[in-house]
């Protein structure tokens, strides 16, 4: 990977986010509000606000990341923009990373807000910030990779099907597993939290923030599984992804 590859990834991320943000800045607020929405119920009906804030961070970064990975790839293919990019001196890795990074630009303000709020109310000790960022990055990478797998393996599906699938999956990964609620509620099924990258990362952040307890081996296992999700997804992608079609 050379400097141009990195630079091109940023150009693609800018291309895919800045015009949208310029014309539709409320997108940033909307993403933040969607992520903050469950916090309202947690406050009203009683729940762990600190844990909910961690959920909001994860939701903020995951939902749009996964959706963008599916929608952008399929839309570019549908609109033949991808054909223009393939025929340019742009590395496919730049394109993939750029597409994955674009939603980060959109969700960054909300994410920063939730992190600051969590720090302000003492839900996120400053010492845990490093681990939190790593877990968020891995969660983003896992969500994007899953999105790429879907758009790659279902390349013959209609763009509308993929669009709906992206939204359903995004919401499902954020609201079904224990992202907003404590995974202790799952009882003996608590292991489910490790399966989903969203709830897995949530659990790790909560652990480092001191909001939940778990054995060190479990923490290690969770990191391995989160990283493995990304690695396995990339391996799957390498089998099927073709920058130039056969």
């Amino acid at each position: 990977m050379n400097i141009k590859t990195v630079k091109d990834a940023f150009i693609i991320a800018a291309l895919k986010s800045i015009p949208d943000l310029k014309r539709n800045p409320s997108m940033m607020i909307l993403i933040g509000l969607i992520s903050a929405f469950p916090l309202f119920f947690i406050v009203v009906f009683g729940g762990q606000v600190s844990g909910g804030l961690v959920g909001a961070m994860i939701a903020n970064i995951s939902f749009i990341g996964l959706a963008a990975a599916i929608q952008d790839i399929s839309f570019d293919r549908y609109m033949k923009i991808r054909e223009m990019i393939v025929a340019m001196p742009v590395h496919p890795v730049s394109y993939a990373i750029g597409v994955a990074m674009a939603p980060l630009f959109i969700s960054a303000p909300g994410l920063i807000f939730f992190i600051c709020l969590a720090i302000a109310i003492g839900a996120l000790p400053l010492v845990s910030l490093g681990w939190t960022v790593v877990a968020l990055i891995l969660c983003w990478a896992a969500g994007s990779s899953i999105g790429f797998i879907i758009s790659t393996y279902l390349r013959n599906a209609s763009v509308y099907t993929l669009n709906n699938m992206a939204n359903i999956l995004g919401l499902g990964l954020v609201f079904l597993p224990p992202v907003y609620y404590p995974e202790e509620l799952l009882g003996t099924y608590r292991w489910i939290a490790i399966v989903f990258p969203t709830s897995n990362a949530t659990g790790l952040i909560r652990f480092y923030a001191g909001l939940t307890k778990m054995p060190v081996e479990t923490v290690l296992l969770r990191w391995i599984i989160l990283a493995a999700t990304v690695i396995v997804a990339v391996i799957f992608l390498s089998f099927k992804t073709r920058w130039r079609e056969d």
Partner: protein, 307 residues
């Protein structure tokens, strides 16, 4: 190994799309496009034009055969090829939130240009296609033709040596089309090479330095406009409005009928003028003209059966 210094050289190119029922899109296609010329590919829908262009533009692998762009193999030297080409795909659509300026700007940046150079080429390209005044309007507020011109401007701003344009003017009105024609010719005069496909025969006649007609995945005719037109035995066409029986031509071998109108192809001008005189005497409307590229194309690909 450098095969040629021509802009595009293909040899014995085959492409078969797999699946339950494999489709052979290209069957041994060979042609060459010289540097600095505008070369047009004509063919029926499904003849293999887009497949060919997608192989040349490094988007699709051939099943067999070779393609070189400015001497670089599209399979072995893909990065080098991509530095020299720009593409306008068929039926390309625009991001609704993008402005023509953003198209040119971002896509030029991706080619590795500096910011100042990007601004310079974007301005030049948008002025060339007549979109400078609309450069900051989002595509959602542009007409179909303006969107198409925004994409063409993106290709122009690339500064690429070889432009590969797949039906770039389809859907444009006559005025917009002619504006694009002028831009394309100007680019060629400045040294660019353009390989374009079109279904608009007038476009091919007006623009091409050379052209090729492909049918069922192979070249059936290649050369200058005069050379391709020269392949037809008939050199003139007479359009007659009315019944051919009145002229005793109901069994003429080279007639295309369209309701009450028919085109009668004749070998020379005298024969055509004689036919016009006879038709006028019978009170029919008739006119004579040289055969068009469309006439030759239809005859070569067998799209319409003669009487």
């Amino acid at each position: 190994m450098v095969k040629s210094v021509d802009a595009v050289v293909t040899e014995d190119l085959f492409k078969t799309y797999g699946g339950k029922e494999p489709v052979q899109a290209l069957r041994g296609l060979s042609l060459s496009v010289k540097k600095g010329e505008l070369f047009t590919l004509l063919g029926l829908n499904g003849a293999g034009k887009t497949t060919f262009l997608r192989i040349v533009s490094t988007q699709l692998s051939p099943t067999r055969g070779t393609v070189h762009v400015l001497g670089h193999d599209v399979l072995a030297e893909v990065d080098e090829v991509r530095k020299h080409i720009a593409v306008v795909p068929q039926d390309v659509q625009t991001y609704s939130n993008f402005t023509p300026w953003e198209y040119c700007y971002y896509f030029s940046l991706l080619r590795g240009m500096s910011k100042s150079r990007t601004i310079e080429v974007s301005e030049r390209a948008l002025k060339a296609v007549g979109l400078w005044e609309l450069r900051n309007r989002t595509c959602v507020g542009l007409s179909g033709g303006e969107k198409k011109r925004a994409i063409i401007a993106t290709a122009l701003a690339s500064d690429a040596d070889v432009l590969l344009l797949d039906e770039p003017t389809s859907g444009l009105d006559a005025v917009a089309r002619r504006r694009v024609w002028a831009v394309l010719r100007e680019l060629v005069e400045q040294g660019s090479t353009i390989l374009l496909t079109t279904h608009i025969m007038e476009e091919a006649e007006m623009l091409s330095d050379r052209l090729a007609i492909i049918n069922k995945g192979n070249v059936i005719s290649e050369g200058s406009l005069d050379e391709v037109k020269g392949l037809a035995k008939e050199k003139f066409r007479v359009i007659v409005e009315g019944s051919l029986q009145d002229l005793g031509l109901q069994n003429h071998n080279h007639v295309s009928k369209f309701g009450n109108k028919q085109i009668i192809y004749v070998g020379d001008e005298d024969e055509g003028l004689d036919l016009v005189r006879r038709a006028l005497k019978k009170g029919l409307r008739a006119e004579i003209a040289r055969i068009t590229l469309e006439d030759v194309f239809v005859k070569l690909v067998g799209g319409v059966e003669d009487n």
